[in-house]
C-alpha cells in the first residue's frame, strides 16, 4: 500500500529535478504549500542527488572486490612461500596477520599481509617497500625484527619476529609503577635512538605500536617504516574532512580518535616532521603511563588536536599522579614542548635523562627499603637499554686466536689478551653508563646506596686505540697502552692535570698484556710479548729509568702480595698440558708453584689480607664449560670456590681494599658484552655494576678503592660492495653496524652470505647486490661464524658452537638442512675446495693443525702435523695458504693441498689480529688486510717481489673481504673499533663505602 507522503515526495522530487535549478525554489514553495517538513525533505533529496562520488554510485561489486581481495583467509597448514600458517592473529589496518612457522629456520614468525587496496596503489606500495626495507635494516632488541618482505601468490607480506605478549595499550589498563613506566619508556627511546641514527622516523609512536613481551617484559616497537604511508594519508584525510565538515570528524569511520592523541603539533599541522615528532609521541606515552590518562583529553579529535596545537602546555603530571618525581615532570615537559626547537633535540638526550631518572628512582627505592634488600635482579631488561650499534664483542679472529694461541701455549696471557683486549678493542664514545645498585650486599646501608649515584664516569683518553690501562695506588698516575693496529706504545699521564702525557715506551712490534703498579707506587711491572719467544715480565721505575727484565715465560699480569714483597702469576706448561699458579719474590727470584691444574689457566688477584689469591677457573658441566671464581690458600695451595655463580668468561679482577669483595670483568654469555661485576667475599654474591653494550677490560683500582679505570670498547662493522673493486663505486649493503665481523662469502649468483649480530647472536644473513631486505638464514642463537659458500652454490660451510664445541657445519644456502661435519673438541675456519668435495679446517687437536673432511662429513684426515691454521685453498685447488709456525715464529705459508712442507713462506701478515686472508683471483698471490688504521688491502705475489696496494680506505678497519666467483664484486666488512680509558671516580662510595 503506497504511502501518500512517499508518493508526494517522489512526485515533487522528480518535478523539481525536471526544472532548471533556479526555478526549483519557486516550485517547491508552491508545491509544498506550507508543509515545511516536506519541503525540507525534498530539498535534502535534491541536494543528495547533486552529490557525486557517493558509495551508492559505485557498483557493489567494486566493494566486493576490495573486500574479497583483502580477504586472505589462509588455512591452517597452508604454505605461503616457506611459511606454514598456524593461525590468524588478527587484522590490522594494513591487512591480516598470521602466526606461521618458518619451515627453513623452524621458528615462529608473524606474517603480515598487505590489503589489496594497499598493494594496488603503486606509489603507496613503493613507498611502503622502500621504508620497510630501510626498517628491516634496523636491528635492535627493542625493534620488532623484519625477517623478510616477500610476495606469494600476488600477495605482499612481511615476515616479522613473533612476540607473545600484549600491547602497551592493553598494559595501560592495569596499574603501572613509575619504575615500570620508565623501563618501558627507556626501551622505546632506545629503539628510537637506533632508528633515528639511520634517519628513520617512526611517525606513529603510540601504545598500540608498542608490544611488551610476556616472558621478560622486553619492549618491541612495531611498524617502523610502515607508518609514513598510512599516516600521511590519515593526515590528508583528516585535513580534508576537517575543512569540509568538522562535525564528521567525530563520527567518521575513517579516523580513530586514539591516534590523534599522540600526534605532535607539527604533525597535526601537516608540517614536515622529523625525529623530534617521535620524541613528542613518547612524551605523551610517558605521561599517560604515569598519570593514567593522556595529557590532552577532549571529547573529539578536533578538540584534542586543538589542545595539542594550543599554546597551553600539558597539565602537570602531579595533577593526576601521586607525587611523581621531579625528574619525570621535567622530562615530560621537555618532551612535550610545542615548539620542536625547544623539545629534546635527539632521542639520545631523552634516553639519557630517562636512565638518570630511573637510576635516581631506584636509589630512592633502595633507600626506602633500607637494609633488607633482596637480591638485586631487579634490572632485568636493562641490558637492552643501549642502542645496538654500540654493541661490542670480540671479533672472529679474537675468538679464533683464543683457541689458536692457547693451543700453541702462548697460553693464558694471549688468550686473555685476545678475548678481552682483542682486535676489537674499542672506544667509549657515548657516555651512557648504566649504574645499578649493588643493593644486595649484606653490608650496604641506605646512606651508601644513595652514594652510588655519586659515582662518576669520565673518558680519559680519546685516540680510540687503548688496549690496556691501570692506575697507580695513590690515584695520581694513569698508564695505558696505545695500539695503532700493528704496533703498541706505553703512555703515562697525571690523572689530575689531564695533561703531561708522556710516552714511556715508543711504538714497537710488541704486545703489552699486563701492567701492574707495585703497592708502593714506585714501579710498574709489565708483560710484553713479541712475535717470538715467550712473554716477559719487565720492571720499570715510575719516575723514569730503564726497564729491567725479571721473568721470562709468564702468561698473565702479576699481582702483588699486600706487603709488596711477592708476586703471583700464571705460567703454562704445554708439554704437561697444565698451568701453574706461581709465586715469586718481587725481583723475580724464588719462583715456586703454589697450585697447578690441567687445561685451565689462573689469573690471580692477591687478597688484601695476603691469605688467599683469587682467580678465575674453568669447570665443565654436563653440556657446557663455564667459569667460576676460586680462592687459592697461599699457605697450602688448596682451592675453594667463591660463590657459585657461573660466567661464560671472566677477565681480570681486583680486590677492594678491605677485602670485602672483588671487582672484575666478566660476561654471563659468550655473546654478551664484557661488563664490570662486583663479587662479594666471602659471600660470593655477584652483581653487575655496568649494564650496557660496551666491553670493559683491563680494570685497575686505587689503593683506597676510590677510583677505578677501565678500557671501554665499541666496534662497528657494515658491509660494502665495490663493483669491479672500484672504491669510488662502493655501495653500502648493510647498516646494522654489527655485520661481517665473522665473515662474508659470495654465492655464485652474487648473493652475499655474511655473519651478523643483528638478531642478538652471531647468525648468517644473506643480501643481494643492491643491499636491502637482508634475509636471515640461521636463528640458532649460537655462535655461527665464517660462512663459506661452496663453489656450486649449494651449501654454506661454517663453524658453530651449536653442540657446545666449535665444529664445522654445513647447511643449504637458504639455511635449511644443517649437517654437522666434525665433532671434535674444536674446529674452526673452514674453506671449501674448488671441486666442492673437501672442507679444510683448523682443529685445536694436535696443537692446532689443518685437517680436511668430505663435504658430506665422515672421517677427517689430518693434513699437517706442524702448527698451522686458517686455511685458504687456492683457486686451482692445488695449494693451501695458512698460518704456519716455523722456527718459533708465525709465518704465512703455502703448502700442497694434501699437506707437506711449505712451498712458499712469508713473514706473517695476519699477526697480531689473525684477520682472514684470501687468494688473489688469478691464484698467483695472496691478498690480506693491513691492520693499521685506516685499513687497506694488499696483495703479495707468490713468486716474490714487493707487496702491492689493492684497496685503500679512507677510514676505519677492515674485518674481512670477499670476491665474487666471477670477480665482478668485492664485499668488504669494515667499520670502526675504538677503545678508550674511562675513569670511574667515587667508585668505593658506589659500592657502599668500603
Amino acid at each position: 500500500m503506497p504511502d501518500p507522503h512517499w508518493e508526494t515526495l517522489k512526485e515533487m522530487f522528480h518535478a523539481a529535478l525536471a526544472l532548471a535549478p533556479q526555478e526549483r525554489a519557486a516550485y517547491l514553495t508552491q508545491a509544498s504549500d506550507g508543509d515545511l517538513e516536506l519541503r525540507q525533505a525534498v530539498e535534502a533529496l535534491l541536494k543528495s542527488h547533486e552529490e557525486t562520488n557517493s558509495f551508492v554510485d559505485t557498483p557493489g561489486y567494486q566493494a566486493a572486490a576490495e573486500m574479497l581481495l583483502a580477504d586472505n583467509d589462509l588455512k591452517v597448514h597452508e604454505l605461503v612461500s616457506h611459511y606454514r600458517i598456524i593461525s590468524l592473529l588478527g587484522e590490522g589496518g594494513m591487512g591480516k596477520v598470521y602466526l606461521a612457522e618458518d619451515t627453513n629456520l623452524h621458528r615462529r614468525v608473524a606474517l603480515k599481509f598487505l590489503a589489496s587496496n594497499f598493494t594496488q596503489d603503486q606509489d603507496r606500495l613503493h613507498r611502503f617497500e622502500r621504508e620497510a626495507r630501510a626498517a628491516s635494516a634496523l636491528n635492535h632488541p627493542n625493534i620488532l625484527t623484519i625477517h623478510e618482505i616477500g610476495e606469494s601468490g600476488g600477495h605482499r607480506f612481511i615476515a616479522t619476529e613473533f612476540i607473545e605478549g600484549e600491547t602497551l595499550r592493553e598494559r595501560l589498563s592495569r596499574e603501572l609503577h613509575n619504575e615500570g613506566a620508565l623501563d618501558i619508556a627507556i626501551q622505546v627511546a632506545s629503539a628510537l635512538v637506533a632508528a633515528h641514527r639511520v634517519g628513520i622516523v617512526h611517525r606513529d609512536i603510540k601504545p598500540e605500536n608498542i608490544m611488551i613481551r610476556r616472558d621478560d617484559g622486553l619492549v618491541k616497537v612495531l611498524d617502523f617504516g610502515l607508518a609514513k604511508s598510512s599516516r600521511t594519508s590519515s593526515i590528508e584525510r583528516w585535513k580534508s574532512v576537517d575543512q569540509q565538515a568538522p562535525e564528521q570528524f567525530k563520527t567518521g569511520p575513517g579516523v580513530v580518535i586514539g591516534t590523534v592523541a599522540y600526534m605532535s603539533p607539527e604533525q597535526a599541522r601537516g608540517d614536515v616532521v622529523d625525529a623530534r615528532t617521535d620524541i613528542w609521541s613518547l612524551g605523551v606515552i610517558l605521561y599517560e603511563m604515569i598519570a593514567g590518562n593522556s595529557p590532552f583529553i577532549a571529547a573529539t579529535s578536533n578538540e584534542i588536536i586543538s589542545a595539542i596545537l594550543s599554546k597551553l602546555p600539558a597539565p602537570q603530571l602531579s595533577r593526576y599522579a601521586h607525587d611523581p618525581p621531579d625528574s619525570l615532570e621535567e622530562i615530560v615537559a621537555k618532551a612535550l614542548a610545542k615548539n620542536n626547537n625547544q623539545r629534546y633535540q635527539t632521542s639520545n638526550d631523552l634516553l639519557t635523562d630517562l636512565k638518570l631518572a630511573k637510576h635516581s628512582l631506584q636509589n630512592e627505592a633502595s633507600t626506602a627499603r633500607d637494609k633488607s634488600i633482596d637480591n638485586a635482579h631487579s634490572i632485568s631488561s636493562a641490558k637492552w637499554n643501549e642502542p645496538v650499534s654500540t654493541t661490542t664483542r670480540a671479533a672472529s679472529s679474537a675468538e679464533y686466536i683464543a683457541n689458536q694461541v692457547k693451543a700453541h701455549k702462548r697460553g693464558a696471557i694471549a688468550f686473555l689478551a685476545i678475548v678481552l683486549f682483542g682486535v676489537v678493542s674499542g672506544v667509549a664514545a657515548t657516555i651512557s653508563f648504566g649504574w645499578y645498585k649493588l643493593a644486595s650486599s649484606h653490608r650496604l646501608n641506605s646512606r651508601s646506596i644513595a652514594a652510588a649515584a655519586t659515582m662518576k664516569i669520565k673518558r680519559v683518553t680519546s685516540d680510540g686505540q687503548t688496549t690496556f690501562a691501570t692506575i697507580s695506588p695513590d690515584g695520581k698516575y694513569l698508564v695505558h697502552v696505545s695500539d695503532n693496529g700493528v704496533q703498541q706504545s706505553l703512555w703515562m699521564r697525571q690523572v689530575k692535570t689531564q695533561s703531561d702525557e708522556k710516552q714511556i715506551l715508543p711504538p714497537a712490534d710488541v704486545r703489552y698484556d699486563g701492567i701492574t703498579f707495585s703497592p708502593d707506587g714506585d714501579y710498574i711491572y709489565y708483560v710484553a710479548s713479541e712475535n717470538k719467544g715467550d712473554a716477559t715480565l719487565y720492571q720499570m721505575p715510575v719516575l723514569g729509568g730503564a726497564s729491567k727484565k725479571l721473568i721470562v715465560d709468564i702468561d698473565t699480569p702479576v699481582t702483588f702480595s699486600p706487603d709488596g714483597r711477592r708476586i703471583a702469576f700464571d705460567r703454562g706448561y704445554p708439554d704437561q698440558g697444565e698451568d701453574a699458579l706461581l709465586v715469586a719474590n718481587a725481583d723475580g727470584t724464588g719462583e715456586r708453584k703454589l697450585a697447578t691444574r690441567k687445561g685451565d689457566y689462573w689469573w690471580p688477584a692477591w687478597s688484601p689480607d695476603g691469605k688467599i689469591i683469587a682467580s678465575r677457573a674453568t669447570s665443565r658441566g654436563a653440556d657446557d664449560t663455564y667459569r667460576t671464581v676460586v680462592a687459592v690458600q697461599v699457605d697450602d695451595g688448596t682451592v675453594k670456590p667463591i660463590g657459585s655463580r657461573h660466567w661464560a668468561g671472566i677477565g681480570e679482577m681486583v680486590w677492594l681494599r678491605d677485602g670485602s669483595g672483588l671487582v672484575m670483568t666478566a660476561r654471563e654469555q659468550g655473546s654478551e658484552p664484557i661488563q664490570i661485576w662486583y663479587l662479594s667475599y666471602p659471600g660470593g654474591e655477584a652483581h653487575k655494576i655496568t649494564n650496557d653494550l660496551d666491553d670493559y677490560r683491563s680494570i685497575g683500582l686505587t689503593a683506597d678503592s676510590t677510583d677505578l679505570v677501565a678500557v671501554r670498547s665499541e666496534s662497528s662493522s657494515n658491509i660494502w660492495n665495490l663493483p669491479h673493486g672500484e672504491t669510488n663505486r662502493a655501495i653500502q649493503l648493510t647498516h646494522t653496524n654489527v655485520d661481517g665481523f665473522k665473515g662474508v662469502s659470495w654465492s655464485p649468483d652474487n648473493h652475499l652470505v655474511y655473519e651478523s649480530w643483528a638478531s642478538g647472536s652471531s647468525e648468517f644473513w644473506s643480501v643481494g647486490l643492491n643491499g636491502g631486505n637482508p634475509k636471515q638464514l640461521t636463528a640458532d642463537s649460537q655462535n655461527d661464524a665464517q660462512p663459506v659458500v661452496s663453489p656450486d652454490g649449494q651449501h654454506v660451510v661454517f663453524y658453530s658452537n651449536r653442540k657446545g664445541h666449535n665444529n664445522i657445519w654445513r647447511m643449504d644456502v637458504d639455511g635449511s638442512n644443517p649437517l654437522q661435519l666434525t665433532d671434535g673438541p674444536g674446529e674452526q675456519f673452514a674453506d671449501v675446495s674448488p671441486d666442492g668435495k673437501w672442507v679444510v679446517f683448523t682443529s685445536i687437536q694436535g696443537n692446532g693443525t689443518l685437517w680436511k673432511v668430505s663435504i658430506d662429513g665422515g672421517q677427517p684426515v689430518q693434513l699437517m702435523s706442524k702448527p698451522s691454521s686458517q686455511a685458504a685453498i687456492s683457486p686451482d685447488g692445488k695449494a693451501i695458504a695458512c698460518n704456519y709456525m716455523h722456527g718459533g715464529r708465525w709465518k704465512v705459508a703455502v703448502i700442497p693441498f694434501n699437506g707437506g712442507e711449505p712451498m712458499v713462506m712469508f713473514d706473517s701478515f695476519t699477526h697480531p689480529n689473525w684477520l682472514p686472508f684470501h687468494w688473489t683471483l688469478d691464484g698467483r698471490g695472496l691478498a690480506y688486510i693491513d691492520q693499521r688504521v685506516p685499513s687497506s688491502i694488499w696483495s703479495v705475489p707468490l713468486s716474490g717481489g714487493p707487496r702491492k696496494l689493492m684497496f685503500d680506505f679512507k677510514s676505519g678497519r677492515v674485518f674481512d673481504f670477499a670476491w665474487s666467483r666471477d670477480g665482478s664484486q668485492l664485499a668488504v666488512a669494515r667499520g670502526e673499533v675504538t677503545s678508550d680509558v674511562v675513569l670511574i671516580s667515587n667508585f668505593a662510595s658506589g659500592l657502599g663505602g668500603y
Partner: protein
C-alpha cells in the same frame, strides 16, 4: 577446490523456492569460489590493475552454476536470485569485518588509524544495507532495483527486464532511491 556445479545449482534452486537452509549451505561455497577467483585474478594481473569485479562475479556464477541444468523461470529469475545472494554474501562479510574492526586488540596487530579502504567499504556496505532495508519497507520496487543494480551489477535495461517494467520507470526509481539512500547514509 571448486564445488561441484550441480550442487550449487540445486541449492540455488532450493533457495529460490524458499528453502533458507539451502542458503546457509550455498554461501560458503560461493564465497570460497569468489575468493579463489579473486586470488587467481590477482596472480594473473600485475599489481596496479584494478580487478574487473563484474567479470569476476560473472565468472563465479558461470562456474558455480551448471548452466544446462538450470530450470529457472527464465534468465531474469536467475539475476534476481544472484543479486540477492551477492547481497547476502557482501553484507555478511561487511558486518563480520566491522565486528572484527571493533573487536579490540590483537597480538602485534596495531589497530591502524588509517581505516583502510576495505574497512570503509565494509562500513559502507553495512550502512547501505541498513538504509536499503528501510527503503524496502517503504517502497519494495525501489528496494529491488537497488539490489539488482548495486549488488547484482545489472544495467538499467537488465533491471527493467527482471522487474518487468519499463527502463524509464527503473531510471526514475533508481534516481530517487539513490538520492534517498545517499541522504540516509550521510545522516546515519
Amino acid at each position: 577446490m571448486p564445488s561441484p556445479p550441480h550442487q550449487v545449482t540445486q541449492l540455488l534452486q532450493q533457495w529460490s523456492e524458499g528453502d533458507e537452509t539451502a542458503l546457509a549451505k550455498l554461501m560458503p561455497l560461493v564465497h570460497d569460489e569468489l575468493h579463489r577467483l579473486a586470488h587467481q585474478h590477482m596472480r594473473r594481473e600485475s599489481a596496479g590493475h584494478v580487478l574487473q569485479t563484474s567479470a569476476l562475479i560473472n565468472e563465479a556464477y558461470l562456474r558455480l552454476v551448471d548452466q544446462p541444468q538450470i530450470r529457472w523461470q527464465g534468465r531474469s529469475h536467475f539475476f534476481g536470485i544472484a543479486a540477492r545472494l551477492m547481497r547476502r554474501i557482501l553484507v555478511d562479510d561487511a558486518r563480520r569485518r566491522n565486528a572484527v574492526k571493533r573487536g579490540g586488540s590483537f597480538i602485534q596487530v596495531p589497530l591502524d588509524e588509517a581505516n583502510t579502504v576495505v574497512q570503509e567499504q565494509a562500513a559502507n556496505v553495512a550502512a547501505l544495507d541498513d538504509a536499503l532495508q528501510r527503503l524496502e519497507t517503504i517502497d519494495e520496487r525501489q528496494g529491488k532495483i537497488v539490489e539488482l543494480r548495486f549488488f547484482g551489477g545489472l544495467s538499467i535495461e537488465e533491471t527493467a527486464e527482471v522487474l518487468k517494467v519499463s527502463p524509464g520507470t527503473v531510471m526514475r526509481d533508481w534516481t530517487f532511491a539513490r538520492a534517498w539512500l545517499r541522504n540516509k547514509m550521510s545522516c546515519a
